[in-house]
Structure formats: structure tokens, C-alpha cells
């Protein structure tokens, strides 16, 4: 196996830049944001190098970097990338510079910078944590980064957020902690079983995946008391809280609404995917029979999430809350895809993770643009803005279409295979999920109509400026991805094919052999 330090550079470049910013003197405050931009571009470049060097015909882990860390406990610093983590790393790397560009502080109009140094440091530390979570190939390392992500996000929401920021950030932290700590107990169990099985403790995910835990599906009681089920539920709880799956979603609208725009973008585009990635990487393949036994429950909750999220979105007056509930709704599709145990649906789930990252990130940027200019998020206080800000209207339209999964946009590429694949296994559920697509169009277009169309009701729109250059760049790159993936999905996702194929095959084989 080839080894390379490239992935470690991806993980630690943000942190190195962060330390640099901390050491820079305060009078360079105006420049810190530029440092963040440079860092995200460097990361995007590194990620591109990895993408180009990635061998799409292989399903295995590549670019492995192994450093001994805690060999006594069988724990090592081991990072690797495969076809499943590759798209997510690319998503993070490309969304980050756009999020920075799209939320550039407007020093001429708005208020001054607020604790800029710490802000930029938090953004960078957050990225390190996210890359680490996606790239970790050791269960302890995964947990380590998973938790580290919490701390910068906690500060981002808590210091630079809106009025109810403290409530929102503490809720966010505690919800995630409940899940994580039970996952920690499951990790102990996993490592212990691994140590007796292999003779020496090991935290390597690939090795632990070979373990077989007893599972008895003869009755619900027997299934619930099987070790595999307990482990599965402990991991799954941590992940579905992060996704978030109904009924564990209530932290998300609060966190999103209170977070600063750049925080919302990262939260929607990347952080939520940590949950679905965890399900895909650990909870489902390591405990397949338990996951399969309870799949109808998770799919049902996914469907409920789609419809419930859509109805909640429909009745929001706060634009940001609307987009937040639309996230709850769209993440439901990923849950269906992951738990359908059907190859096409699984592939669709991975695509949907990326596509939701793009469209939700774009929509949160739009919300940010509007809030920056008009200082409101109340849908009743906009109206007819398309005349004053045509470029923003176009960008908003594209993101809306992507979000409602119009054919030709990236959203379709994700949701269609999920519904198609899952229909063969769970036709009734998918029928209900399909109504979510219609509801999704209703609330998204309603929001567009309330903001951009109709008569102008505000009288203070003379000073309203359209997108500036940085914002245009951010929106156009997103647009390229929306239509690029929409028309040529293969060109973007072909490197994941081998990994998805072998993932789906082995998963279905494990489930059907019992």
C-alpha cells in the first residue's frame, strides 16, 4: 500500500494557518479574512491533487498515512481516503473558500469586525476537524476529530450568533454530546472485542469491520438484546442526532438560525454530512444485520422527516428557519437511501450528501446576502427584490431549482436514484417520500416568490446593491457544480463507483446470507 502525507497536510493546513493568525498582531485585523481565503484555497488545491491522484478503479483505501500514536491501546494516527470519503473531502474543500468569499465582511457599510482573530481561528480549526472526521481510518481518531469539531462550532454560534445564540449553541453541544458519549462506550466494546479476536488491540476501522457480533433476529426482544443491536444503536444514535433525523432534529433549526452565515453554510454543507458519513462508514457496514433488522424504522423516520420537515418549512416566516427545515427534509432522503440496502439507493445517498451540501450551502449564502443588506430574515418584509438585485435573483433561482431536484440540476441526481432504488424494496414508503418532493417545490418556490417576485413593498430599496464580485464568484462556482453535476454526474462521481459497488455488494451479501 502506498503511503503519503498528503492527507495529513489537508487535515493540518487549516490548523497551521490558524496558529499563524493567532500569532499575527492585532493591527493586521483587516487581513485575517484574507489569510482564511488563502488557507481554504490551499486546501482546495491539495484536495484537487488528491482527487487527480486518486485511483478510481480501486475500491480500497488510498493515500494512507500511518503514525504510531498510542500503540498500547491499539490506537494509531491512521488516515486514508476511499471512494466514499473522496467526494465529501472535495465538498469540504470547495465549499470552504466559497463560504469565506460569500460572507466577506463589508467594512464600508456594516459595523466593524468583532473579535476577528478568534473568528478566523475557529473557522480554521473547524475545517481541520471536518477533514479529520472524513479521513480518519481509526475509530479512536474518528471519535477524536468528531468531538473536536464541536468546540469551534460552539464558539462560532455562541459568540457571533444572533439573539438566542447561547441557548442554541449549548443545545447543539449537549445534543451531540449525548450521542457521542454513548458512541464512546460502543467504541470501548468494539476495541475490547477486537483485542480478544485479534490477540492485540486495534482501532483500525478496516480490521474492526471484519468482526462479527452475535445477532438474533427471531423476535424483537431477542434482537434488542443482541450485542450487535446494542452497538449499532449506540453508534446510530450519535450519527442520527448529527444528521439530524426526526425526532432528534430540534437542535438544528435553533443552531442554524442563530449561527453566523458562514457557520450556517459549514453546518448545512458539511457538518450534517458527518452524521450520514458515520452511518455509511461505521454503523451500517459494521453491524449490517442489526441495521437491516431496524431499517424499516429508520426509513419510516426518514420519510416522516421528509414530510414533517417540508410542512415545517412551509409555515416558517423566518427565511433562515425555512432553509433549516428544508435541510431536515432533504437529509431524510439520505436516510432512506442508506437504509434501503439497495445499491442504486446507496449510491444516490452519497450523491445526495454532496448535492445537499451545494444547494443548502448556496441557499444559506443567499439568506446571508439578504440579511447583510436588509437586516431582516422575515419573509413578509421582502418582495419584488428581483428588480433591484437581478443577479442575486438568478443565483437564488438556481439554488432553489437545485433544492427542489429539478432534472438537469444536481438535486435530481441525488434524489432520483434514492427513490428509484428504494422503490424496489419499500414501495409504500417511497410513495410517501415522493410527496415530499412536491412539498419541497411548494415551500422553495413560495420562498422565492415572497422574496423576489411580486410588488416591492419596501421603500428603502434605493441603496440596495446587487452581488459584489466576491459574491458573484461564490455563486457562479456553485452554479457550475449545480449544472455540471446535473448534466454530467458521471464526470464528478465516477471515482466513487468502484468503492460504492464493493460497498453495496458486500453489505447486501452480509445481510442476505443470514
Amino acid at each position: 500500500m502506498e503511503t503519503s502525507t498528503l492527507l495529513s497536510w489537508i487535515i493540518f493546513t487549516p490548523l497551521l494557518f490558524g496558529l499563524l493568525v493567532v500569532l499575527l498582531p492585532q493591527r493586521l485585523e483587516q487581513q485575517f479574512r484574507k489569510a482564511a481565503l488563502v488557507q481554504t484555497l490551499v486546501n482546495a488545491l491539495l484536495a484537487t491533487v488528491v482527487y487527480l491522484g486518486f485511483d478510481g478503479s480501486s475500491a480500497g483505501a488510498q493515500f494512507v498515512h500511518l503514525v504510531e500514536w498510542l500503540p498500547d491501546w491499539g490506537i494509531n494516527y491512521r488516515v486514508a481516503i476511499d471512494g466514499i470519503s473522496l467526494p465529501l473531502v472535495m465538498l469540504t474543500a470547495y465549499v470552504a473558500p466559497l463560504a469565506i468569499l460569500g460572507t466577506w465582511p463589508d467594512l464600508h457599510h456594516g459595523a466593524g469586525l468583532k473579535k476577528e482573530k478568534f473568528f478566523v481561528f475557529c473557522l480554521m480549526a473547524l475545517q481541520s476537524g471536518m477533514y479529520g472526521t472524513f479521513l480518519a481510518a481509526d475509530v479512536f481518531l474518528f471519535y477524536f476529530f468528531w468531538e473536536v469539531v464541536l468546540i469551534p462550532m460552539f464558539f462560532l454560534i455562541g459568540i457571533w450568533g444572533g439573539k438566542e445564540r447561547i441557548y442554541a449553541t449549548v443545545k447543539f453541544f449537549l445534543y451531540t454530546m449525548v450521542g457521542s458519549l454513548l458512541m464512546l462506550v460502543a467504541i470501548f466494546w468494539l476495541l475490547k472485542t477486537g483485542a480478544t479476536e485479534f490477540g492485540a488491540p486495534t482501532g483500525e476501522l478496516a480490521a474492526l469491520a471484519k468482526l462479527n457480533f452475535a445477532f438474533d433476529g427471531s423476535s424483537l426482544g431477542a434482537a434488542l438484546s443482541s450485542p450487535q443491536t446494542l452497538l449499532f444503536l449506540a453508534f446510530a444514535l450519535a450519527f442520527v442526532i448529527k444528521v439530524p433525523m426526526v425526532p432528534f432534529h430540534t437542535w438544528l433549526p435553533d443552531a442554524h438560525v442563530q449561527a453566523p452565515t458562514v457557520g450556517s453554510v459549514f453546518l448545512a454543507a458539511v457538518l450534517l454530512k458527518m452524521g450520514t458519513y458515520g452511518l455509511m462508514r461505521i454503523a451500517i457496514p459494521m453491524f449490517p444485520q442489526a441495521a437491516h433488522y431496524f431499517s424499516s424504522l429508520f426509513i419510516a423516520l426518514g420519510v416522516i422527516g421528509i414530510i414533517y420537515g417540508a410542512f415545517c418549512a412551509l409555515h416558517q416566516t423566518d427565511f433562515k428557519k425555512l432553509v433549516a427545515y428544508s435541510s431536515v427534509s432533504h437529509m431524510g432522503y439520505i436516510m432512506i437511501g442508506l437504509f434501503a440496502f439497495q445499491k442504486v439507493a446507496i449510491a444516490g445517498a452519497l450523491y445526495q450528501m454532496i448535492n445537499h451540501g451545494i444547494s443548502a450551502g448556496g441557499l444559506f449564502l443567499i439568506v446571508g446576502f439578504l440579511y447583510e443588506r436588509l437586516h431582516t430574515r422575515n419573509l413578509g418584509e421582502f418582495g419584488g427584490l428581483a428588480k433591484s438585485v437581478p443577479l442575486m435573483a438568478i443565483g437564488f433561482m438556481i439554488m432553489t431549482l437545485s433544492s427542489v431536484a429539478l432534472p438537469g440540476t444536481n438535486g435530481f441526481v441525488g434524489e432520483f436514484p434514492i427513490l428509484l432504488g428504494a422503490f424496489q424494496v419499500w414501495p409504500v414508503y417511497v410513495l410517501f417520500a415522493g410527496t415530499g418532493v412536491i412539498l419541497g417545490a411548494v415551500y422553495a418556490l413560495k420562498a422565492y416568490q415572497l422574496v423576489m417576485l411580486g410588488p416591492q413593498t419596501r421603500t428603502d430599496l434605493d441603496g440596495l446593491t446587487d452581488l459584489n464580485l466576491k459574491e458573484i464568484v461564490a455563486m457562479s462556482v456553485l452554479t457550475v457544480f449545480v449544472f455540471g453535476i446535473g448534466f454530467f454526474p458521471k464526470a464528478f462521481f465516477w471515482k466513487s463507483d468502484a468503492a460504492l459497488e464493493s460497498y453495496g455488494t458486500s453489505l447486501i451479501q452480509k445481510v442476505s446470507s443470514k
Binding site: W69, E147, V148, L174
Partner: protein, 492 residues
């Protein structure tokens, strides 16, 4: 049986003296420091220098002879091997940090220069306590330590809280000591020996000891659970933590807890976790219950505290609960106390650091900092705010910090030993603890001060102590391999 058989006093040789040297240095350094402190103008500084030099010399000397062959003094009463010497070195490093932490604080709080000598005497008692296997000698070391600590707690002479705390601690601590002594005498009556090793051999040979043994064991356990501050013997702890000067609180939370817990672990190992005595299972369940009660009580009561030191004192009860969980797991699985040692070591360092930060914001004779007072502190003093955040995250067991590694080791060995229910209680109550630790961070960084903000009292000693603790917290949080391997090696 004559006294000489109970306490076999023999002449000491050179190697014995070499191994005893850290204790002698502490005792001698303490006396010298008392003398140096009598100077009218520079008393505090001189006492500080002498005390610090003595601790550092003891530290180096202890390091130098760490792997020399095992020495037992006075029969099997005091045993100096790599294991006990490592524990002593850890204690000495806490003591060194505490001495540095005290410098500056002494003038501010009007503490007498004798405080340095007392810290050294207490440390001498602790070193003896972790080195002995003999119940009576354990009592003597406990008293050497405790008497010094009683005085340290009551040392803020102009504060009535301090006097109250000192008196409370003295009366209750005296009761605990009496229970310990009476309990050991009963154990002696039942087994014919004070030595822990021989007691466990006796029990292995006699699976049905008389009820006197159980009575004595109960009393000894009660005394030790009092010293570690476990529920239901915890009531002294919040008041003492608040009343004592903050540097003393930090020292107690680190060193006294470490010592008492190591002694408790030793007693449990030999007197409770003996396989073939069926009735000892009652005592094992008792420890399980105390662990669960401490975790639940400590964490839930800490939520409602608005004063920082009081909150930390309840959180320390919860930490005692986690440690008792580790102790209970020792019985089930691996019998090595390495996870306890690591946890205590990491916790002690973070704890010292946290109190070092607090001491820099307290006014003279102030009982405690309230949450309202520290609002916005992290914004006005970003560096100290960041350090305090680090210590709180470490106590909450969040990755990047040593507290996470400690908790991971403790809980994972408990799961490995098969004790899952208690671990689930522990992690769920940990979530509660995350809430109250976060609350402090929220106040420091996310709220504006509402008027009565604290002022920064620049204390060089406390600043240095905080930085050393922070460096250790990060170092052991990110690269704990060396210390884990080392502790694993010596605890075999």
C-alpha cells in the same frame, strides 16, 4: 505480642536512607522554610525559595533513584519501588506547582510565610502514605498530611469562611481519622496483622473471617471515602473548597485527592477484592453504589451552582465517582491501578491549573467568584480565558486535553472488565457535567459583564503555574504515549 513485633524498628542502612531522602528533604526543607519565613521583610520570598528548592531537589533525587532496587524499610512497613517512587514523584510535582502557585497569593491573601513549610510537611505525609503497606503507618502518614492541611485551610486569618472551613474539616477529619484507627485495630484483632499484603494472604487462607473484620473494614473504608470526598461522606467538601485560599484548594484537589485515592485503592485491593471471601461481595457492591451515587449527586448538584469554586467542588465529587468506577473495575478485570493513576495525574494537573487561573481574579478574602462576575472575562483576558477553557474542557473530558485520555483509559478498562452499566451512568452524567463546564465558558466568552466585573490581580506565580499545567494538559492530551507506557510499566 510486643510492640516491636507490630512495628519492627531496625537500624537503617545507606540504601534505606537514600530512598528516604525525598521525605527527609521535605521535612528538613519545611523546617528551614519556617525559619526563613521569620524574616520581617523578605520572609515570604525566602520561605518560598527554600521550599521550592527543597521540593525540586526531592524531585530530582526521587527521579535519580527511581529504578534502583526495591527497598523495604521497617520490615515491610515502607516499600520504595519504582511504583511507589513514581507516585511520590507525581505528588512532588503537584507540590512544586502548588508552591509556585502560592507565591504572590500569600501576600494578597495575607497568608503567613509558614504556608510553604506546611505544604512541604503535607507532601511528606503524602509521600509516606503512598509508600506504605501498613495500616498503622498509613494512619500516621494520614495524620501528618491532614494536620498540615487543616492549618492550610484555616490560613486566611481575616476571613471567617476560612476559619469555619478549617474547623469543619478538622472536626470531621478528626472523626474520620478516629474511625480509621479504630477500624484498623479491629482488623488487627481479626487477622493478627496490620500489613495489607499479609491481610490478603490471611483472607485467602480463611474465607470466613469473624464479623470483627467486616466491622473494621467498614470503618476503614468509611474514613477513606471521607478523605476522597465520596457521597455520602462529601458534605465537608464544598465548604472547605470555598473557604480555603484558592491555592490551597488547588493543592487539596490535586495532591490530597491523589494520595487518599491511592491509599483507598491499595486498601481495596488487599482487603476488599479478595476472591474467595464470599461476604466481601457486599463491600464490592457498596463501592459500586457509592460510585454511582457520587457521579449522579456530584454532577446534578453542580448544575445549580453559581459560584465557581463551589461548582468545581461538586464536580470533584463526580470525579471521585468516576475514579471509584475505575476502582470497582479493577476488581473485575485487570488488577493494575494504572488507569486510576493516569486519571488522577491528569485531573490533578488540570485542577491545579484551573485554581491558578481563578486565584488571579479573586479579591482578598473573597469567598468565591460568581458566574456573573466572570462574564466577559475571556474577552478582556483572552489568554487566561483560553487557559481556563482548556482546563474546563479537560475536566469535562473533551478530546485534545489530557482529561479525555484519562477518561478514555478509565472507562475503556471498565468496559473491558465487563462493567457496562456503571460506565453508561458515568457517560450520561458526564453529559450533565459538560453542561456546567460549558456554562462557565459561555459566561466567559459569550456574555457581557453586567457591572460588578472582576479585576485582574497579576500574580506571577499563579500565571506560571497555570501555564505549566496548561502545557501538561495539552501535551498529555495529544501525545500521551510516553506517560501511558511508563505508568503501565511501573504498575506491573
Amino acid at each position: 505480642m510486643t510492640l516491636i513485633e507490630v512495628f519492627p524498628l531496625t537500624a537503617l542502612g545507606l540504601t534505606e536512607y537514600v530512598n528516604l531522602l525525598p521525605v527527609l528533604m521535605l521535612a528538613g526543607g519545611g523546617l528551614l522554610s519556617l525559619l526563613a519565613g521569620t524574616h520581617k521583610e523578605h520572609g515570604h520570598f525566602r520561605a518560598f525559595v527554600v521550599a521550592f528548592a527543597a521540593v525540586v531537589m526531592a524531585l530530582f533525587q526521587g527521579n535519580a533513584v527511581l529504578f534502583s532496587s526495591d527497598v523495604s524499610i521497617l520490615g515491610e512497613t515502607l516499600i520504595f519501588g519504582p511504583f511507589t517512587k513514581t507516585l511520590s514523584i507525581m505528588l512532588l510535582s503537584f507540590s512544586a506547582i502548588a508552591v509556585v502557585l502560592t507565591y504572590g497569593q500569600d501576600k494578597k491573601e495575607g497568608l503567613l510565610a509558614e504556608i510553604y513549610g506546611l505544604i512541604l510537611f503535607a507532601t511528606a505525609g503524602m509521600v509516606l502514605m503512598v509508600s506504605t503497606q501498613h495500616l498503622l503507618f498509613m494512619f500516621i502518614s494520614l495524620e501528618i498530611m491532614s494536620l498540615a492541611i487543616y492549618v492550610l485551610v484555616a490560613m486566611r486569618r481575616t476571613s471567617s469562611f476560612s476559619a469555619e472551613a478549617g474547623l469543619k474539616y478538622f472536626i470531621l477529619g478528626g472523626l474520620a481519622s478516629a474511625l480509621f484507627l479504630y477500624g484498623s485495630s479491629l482488623v488487627f484483632g481479626a487477622t493478627g496483622t496490620f500489613e495489607l499484603g499479609k491481610i490478603s494472604t490471611f483472607l485467602s487462607a480463611h474465607p470466613n473471617p469473624s464479623f470483627v473484620y467486616y466491622l473494621g473494614l467498614g470503618l476503614v473504608l468509611t474514613a477513606m471515602l471521607f478523605k476522597v470526598g465520596a457521597v455520602p461522606f462529601h458534605s465537608w467538601l464544598p465548604d472547605v473548597y470555598q473557604g480555603a485560599a484558592t491555592n490551597v484548594t488547588g493543592f487539596m484537589g490535586a495532591a490530597v485527592k491523589f494520595t487518599a485515592f491511592m491509599a483507598l485503592a491499595k486498601i481495596c485491593q488487599h482487603m476488599v477484592f479478595v476472591d474467595n471471601v464470599a461476604k466481601l461481595e457486599w463491600f464490592q457492591s457498596y463501592i459500586w453504589l457509592v460510585a454511582a451515587a457520587s457521579m449522579i449527586y456530584g454532577n446534578f448538584v453542580a448544575i445549580s451552582q453559581n459560584e465557581i469554586k463551589r461548582m468545581l467542588s461538586f464536580s470533584t465529587i463526580a470525579h471521585t465517582g468516576y475514579l471509584l468506577l475505575g476502582l470497582y473495575a479493577m476488581n473485575l478485570g485487570s488488577t493494575s491501578p494504572q488507569d486510576l493513576i493516569l486519571y488522577l495525574f491528569f485531573y490533578a494537573l488540570s485542577n491545579l491549573g484551573a485554581f491558578a487561573v481563578i486565584s488571579q481574579f479573586e479579591e482578598r478574602n473573597q469567598k468565591d467568584l460568581t458566574l456573573d462576575q466572570i462574564a466577559g472575562l475571556g474577552i478582556r483576558h483572552p489568554f487566561l480565558g483560553a487557559l481556563f477553557t482548556l482546563f474546563l474542557l479537560s475536566m469535562a473530558g473533551i478530546p485534545l486535553t489530557s482529561g479525555f485520555i484519562g477518561k478514555y483509559g478509565l472507562f475503556s478498562s471498565a468496559v473491558t472488565a465487563g462493567e457496562v452499566p456503571l460506565v453508561v451512568i458515568a457517560v450520561l452524567t458526564s453529559v450533565v457535567s459538560v453542561y456546567y463546564y460549558l456554562r462557565v465558558i459561555v459566561y466567559m466568552f459569550m456574555k457581557e459583564s453586567t457591572g460588578e466585573a472582576v479585576t485582574y490581580q497579576a500574580l506571577k506565580g499563579a500565571g506560571l503555574a497555570a501555564m505549566v499545567s496548561a502545557a501538561a494538559t495539552l501535551q498529555f492530551g495529544l501525545f500521551p504515549r510516553a506517560v501511558i507506557s511508563f505508568v503501565k510499566m511501573i504498575s506491573k
